[in-house]
Point group: C2
Chain length 153, copies 2
DNA sequence: TCTGGATATTTCGAAAAATGAAGCTTATCA
DNA sequence: TGATAAGCTTCATTTTTCGAAATATCCAGA
């Protein structure tokens, strides 16, 4: 198992690569924060993520694509959220095959609590300046919008 | 299942919230890109992610914390990577309990291929200006560094 | 208008992934 | 020196996700 030093190399970091790792790190950090926050809330982890993603009513299939899971996985999670009164399924008026997941008031309250607390911890913990945060948010929003273009239902 | 409109509300988006969603979206987007890229590479998904995370040799426990998984999960994944010749385990010279995961040349080659291709697709697909990308990368690197402070082994 | 192909979601068994308790070794501290 | 904590591993169990098949709906082209 132990080999000589010559058979391995150290890799270099380029700026964009650092950006990727930063995004990964931030994503994982936020996830671990969310795990910590709601140890008192009996909602499974993935379902909690869905609640955060539901900034507006979305189709099950679109949400699955955004979150990089299969539709069948999203179906199961939606069942869970629905049984807990956090979302309702509504027919998409534009397409009778499709369903919209929409937060209930209970779901929206949970979402607000999750997001506000995660965001507060994020700003305090990561020590970004106002400029950095605004710029990061602006680019991040643009990225989000551009990605939506690629996954629009 | 179908309820009246009065029982649900629409939520508003604040900028920092958009930033969070952007990060989530970007993370998922990169992951789906990586899924697409290496359909010809017989390495499971999580193990591929580990390869990207190994910008330098890291302890199994530290890596597990960074990636928000349990050490036992990381052990299994490391076994896989080792059996494929992508990493080697080396004793941490500072602590004989601990192991460092270090990329082999094969692992480093795979990492370069994954990262370069993902980054190229990222820049072309998401249409960021050079300023936006550099600023995003800079903040992202800072975020990464700050998060490392919270998970240092 | 009709038809064939594509799409949206669901079901449910199978597969994959992750957990978590227990164990061994090593490090730290009083 | 002894007690406690930390790092990693093992392996049985649980959880999560996949994926094939099915049904309903949509849509473009003939």
């Amino acid at each position: 198992m132990i080999q000589s030093h010559d058979s391995t190399i150290d890799t270099l970091i380029e700026p964009e690569l650092g950006a990727l790792l930063g995004v990964f790190a931030l994503h994982n950090f936020i996830e671990s924060l969310m795990d910590d926050i709601d140890s008192g809330i009996d909602v499974p982890h993935f379902e909690r993520k869905i609640v955060v993603w539901l900034d507006r009513p979305k189709r099950i299939g679109a949400l699955a694509r955004e979150m990089n899971v299969l539709p069948s996985t999203m179906t199961t999670a939606a069942d869970q959220l629905e049984s807990r009164g956090l979302v309702v399924r509504e027919r998409d008026p534009d397409d009778r095959r499709a369903w919209l997941l929409k937060l209930t008031q209970t779901g929206a309250d949970l979402r607000s609590a999750l997001v506000v607390m995660a965001r507060t911890l994020l700003c305090e913990t990561l020590d970004l300046s106002a400029d950095e945060l605004n710029s990061f948010a602006r680019t991040s929003l643009k990225i989000h919008a551009n990605i939506q273009k690629h996954t629009t239902c």
